[in-house]
């Protein structure tokens, strides 16, 4: 098992190489000169050229990429073109905010969606099932920013229960977490429902009932446990997406997370910040995927046996 984990961690190296290359390449393909954005409107052409030279923007793509990777090897992710601050430090300052928002959103989503998914599966093809699926459809199709604004109007302006935005105490986390969590809950509900439906039709469920297990035992012990693998996959996937995908919620709630950082950096053509942030996000996603894979092993002994064999 440990060898398996090590193997997976070593696989991060090609991930970093490929990700950094793709991002660097994509940023070079995108129109827009960072020097122009930095220099301001009053800059003379020669001053813009000086900035270009200083940032190495006149070098060929492969030289710039090589220089960047040389820095990476020594743990230096470079300096932001705009803020002149260390990319890694800036990213790490924002990371707790994103984990806080993502964690709270996933927590809300899990607490709501797993019971709802089980409930709708048990009551398949009844009005209860339909109501649950309408909720899921609603969550899937409702734009994040719209929901966020509606929640602010109701809970901040009308009821005065929560702040409209910014990162303050835990109360400032509630509305952004509900906004992001609502969308996540929709997918997890649907996954839970369909996974449970598959399991509910299995022979071992009938056997469990025949053995005299209560319906509660049948559902939670025999049913849910066997249905968990796709649900864990969905939760892991959502957690990965939340890390970079909360930009709208972060903007609406003025939440200082990574999504907003990356979005602002792209618009300013801040290549070191974009590349560094996305590499860090890729590493995080790999780690989350690894954790999810390890959780599989504890829920399913067959997977554990496979890991041990591969290890």
């Amino acid at each position: 098992m440990i060898r398996y984990i090590l193997k997976r961690l070593i696989m991060l190296i090609p991930v970093i190489l490929v990700t950094s290359f793709l991002i660097f390449w994509a940023m070079s393909l995108t129109g827009g000169d960072p020097a122009l954005m930095l220099a301001g409107d009053n800059a003379k052409p020669e001053q813009i050229e000086e900035i270009r030279e200083e940032l190495g923007l006149n070098d060929p793509f492969i030289v710039r990429y090589g220089n960047y990777m040389k820095g990476m090897l020594t743990g230096d992710m470079g300096q932001s073109y705009v803020t002149k601050r260390d990319v890694f430090k800036t990213f790490m300052e924002r990371l707790p905010n994103t984990l806080m928002l993502g964690g709270a959103a996933v927590f809300i989503a899990v607490v709501v969606s797993i019971p709802l998914g089980i409930y709708t599966a048990i009551h398949q093809n009844t009005w209860k099932d339909t109501a649950g699926m309408i909720f899921a459809l609603f969550g899937n199709s409702m734009p994040n920013f719209w929901l966020g604004l509606m929640l602010i109007i109701i809970f901040s302006l009308k009821l005065g229960l929560f702040p409209t935005g910014g990162k303050g105490g835990l109360d400032s986390l509630v509305l952004p977490a509900v906004t992001v969590g609502f969308g996540l809950a929709a997918l997890i509900t649907r996954t839970t429902r369909s996974s449970m439906l598959d399991v509910l039709r299995q022979d071992y469920m009938t056997t469990a009932r025949a053995k005299g297990c209560s319906e509660k035992q049948v559902i939670t012990v025999h049913g849910l446990k066997n249905a968990l693998i796709p649900i864990i996959t969905a939760i892991g996937l959502q957690m990965s997406l939340v890390i970079t995908g909360s930009v709208l919620a972060e903007t609406v709630f003025s939440w200082p997370g990574i999504g907003r950082l990356v979005y602002d950096s792209i618009s300013k053509r801040d290549t070191p910040m974009v590349t560094g942030s996305i590499i860090m996000c890729s590493i995080l996603m790999c780690i989350i995927n690894l954790v999810v894979d390890l959780i599989y092993a504890f829920f399913d002994p067959r997977i554990k046996a496979q890991y041990s064999k591969k290890g």
């Binding site: 129109g31 827009g32 000169d33 122009l36 954005m37 930095l38 220099a39 301001g40 409107d41 009053n42 800059a43 003379k44 052409p45 001053q47 813009i48 900035i51 705009v82 803020t83 002149k84 800036t90 300052e93 924002r94 990371l95 905010n97 994103t98 984990l99 806080m100 928002l101 993502g102 964690g103 709270a104 927590f107 899990v110 920013f145 604004l149 602010i152 109007i153 901040s156 302006l157 702040p163 409209t164 935005g165 910014g166 990162k167 105490g169 835990l170 400032s172 446990k225 903007t251 609406v252 003025s254 200082p256 907003r260 950082l261 602002d264 618009s267 053509r269 954790v291 959780i295 504890f298």
Partner: protein
């Protein structure tokens, strides 16, 4: 056993996902909530900005939001008095007086009672001024200090600045925030972030990127004895905090909820909600931000001046103003930002007149239209609305326009390398006319997205910059504006109004048409 492990792992996963909850709490609750001081005003003033604060190193940034903050903590040699004209427009600040000894040498006297807001209260001297100006030439701020050669220290409180050649607006350059005087000693002593140390009535307390930047009043400010109401008087509010709210609606709601005291640039379509709120004042004045439609005059057929004039006549600027900002702006004819020295708007220009447009089309050799072109602009409001109106207007005179929305960075690059044909852009300048004429129209200039080049225009631009006789200079400025409006590399569309919404008890604020507001003496009265 397995069940326990599974349960343990599930809890661990949940805990891991909530790990951040504790991690970032160091700054939670750190931002100010503004209590009363018992001195007739709230302790803090909280300003909701429309952009992130991204760099507070004065000379290494060009961002309006950063500058608004830095204005409170740092001071310049010369102060720009918004709305004033003539000699009063630029007045003394850290410099008490200045005099041109000849065309290239300016002698400047400095205040002798100023100290930096460091622990030792280091006095500000001529060495600091020389250090600041010399350092600027190695930084981004060099673009503001064009023409600077060197600074010679005469004595502790006198300097002589040498410039390449006489320029009417060199002194005005010294009022730019990035050229605020910094402490030489702070840089030499190796203190971390030496650029934080200024001479202003406020100093930095904490900046959490993406969250807030908090300033606190300097208790032993050098100008504590300066009477209230004067430019260099001490601050009033104990704390001024700037919080970025990028989403405009969120900024409005934060003001309505009382979480911020000032909402900069509220969205025009939400003003009615703010106006209905009895606790909020919506302030509006003519701004200086000019939105315009431009031609790349290097490209066929836009090198044809008559054709450009025909297009100018075909644009319904009233409709543009209505669609873009619900009419909250001012139409203008000239290419110069309103409020700048020498603003002249009495030329005939090209009002909306489709018949005249068609007649000019015929004169230009395009009687049947048949022109296909593209209009590039930055995605989003108000450019989308403006582009749609212009597309429909030009269709009436036989010009088919393809709309090409793009990111600002991409648009700027396209405009610089000349791959564009028609474009929409804006120009915001409230102090130096040379930053309009030279930057936009001078041959080879960096922001000359029109790729316009005309020896006569260049000569007039130079005259406005260097002519010492005020009457001759004014005449040249008017002639230049007439000439450029007629040559029509640009069709000025409108000047957007400056709109700010704030707590009705706000006092002491000072608004600039360009948005570079002064909050040094602002406070919330109680």
């Amino acid at each position: 056993m397995k069940k326990r492990l599974a349960l343990l792992l599930s809890v661990a996963m949940l805990a891991a996902s909530l790990a951040g909850c504790g991690g970032g709490s160091s700054s939670s609750g750190g931002s100010s909530d503004g209590g009363a001081t018992g001195s007739g005003h709230k302790e803090s003033l909280i300003i909701g900005t429309d952009a992130d604060i991204n760099n507070l190193d004065l000379q290494k940034q060009q961002d309006a939001t950063n500058n608004i903050i830095l204005k409170n903590t740092h001071q310049t040699l010369v102060f720009f008095n918004n709305g004033s004209q003539g000699d009063e427009r630029f007045g003394p600040c850290l410099a008490t007086s200045w005099e041109f000894k000849d065309d290239t040498h300016i002698e400047m006297k400095l205040r002798d009672d100023v100290h930096f807001n460091d622990e030792e209260k280091t006095p500000m001297t001529a060495e600091d001024v020389k250090f600041t100006l010399d350092m600027a030439m190695d930084n981004m701020a060099a673009s503001i200090l064009t023409g600077y050669v060197q600074c010679n220290v005469i004595d502790d409180y006198s300097i002589e600045i040498e410039i390449e050649s006489y320029n009417n607006e060199f002194i005005q350059s010294l009022s730019s925030v990035p050229l605020s005087i910094q402490s030489k000693k702070a840089y030499e002593s190796g203190v971390e972030d030496p650029y934080y140390i200024g001479t202003g009535p406020y100093k930095f307390d904490e900046w959490v990127e993406g969250e807030y930047c908090r300033l606190v009043k300097v208790e032993d400010y050098w100008g504590n004895d300066i009477p209230e109401g004067e430019n260099l008087a001490p601050g009033v509010a104990e704390v001024i905090e700037f919080r970025p709210y990028i989403e405009a609606s969120s900024r409005v709601m934060a003001l309505q909820a009382g979480e911020i005291d000032v909402c900069v640039n509220p969205p025009i379509n939400e003003l009615q909600y703010l106006e209905e709120d009895e606790n909020i004042t919506v302030y509006e004045q003519t701004g200086t931000r000019l939105f315009y439609f431009g031609f790349n005059v290097e490209k066929e057929p836009w090198n044809n001046e008559t054709l450009r004039q025909a297009v100018a006549c075909a644009i319904d600027r009233d409709a543009v103003l209505e669609a873009a900002v619900y009419g909250k702006g001012t139409l203008q004819t000239t290419i110069l930002n309103r409020g700048l020295w020498g603003f002249y708007d009495d030329m005939e220009g090209f009002d909306y007149d489709v018949e005249r447009a068609k007649s000019l089309m015929a004169e230009a050799g395009y009687a049947n239209g048949g022109i296909t072109t593209s209009l590039s602009y930055a995605s989003g409001s108000p450019y989308e609305q403006i582009a749609t109106i212009i597309q429909s207007n030009l269709k009436e005179i036989g010009i088919e326009v393809t709309l090409e929305p793009m990111e600002t960075a991409t648009l700027k690059s396209a405009c610089v390398d000349g791959s564009h044909e028609l474009f929409l852009w804006r120009w915001n300048e409230d102090s130096k006319v040379d930053f309009v004429y030279r930057d936009l129209y001078y041959t080879g200039s960096g922001s000359n997205y029109h790729h316009y080049s005309d020896p006569k225009a260049d000569e007039l631009i130079d005259t406005v910059a260097t002519e010492k006789d005020p009457e001759l200079r004014l005449a040249a400025a008017q002639e230049l504006q007439e000439y450029l409006v007629n040559a029509c590399p640009q069709v000025p569309l409108y000047i957007a109004n400056l709109v700010v919404a704030y707590n009705k008890n706000l006092q002491g604020q000072y608004f600039y048409g360009g948005g570079n507001h002064d909050w040094r003496h602002a406070y919330i009265a109680e």
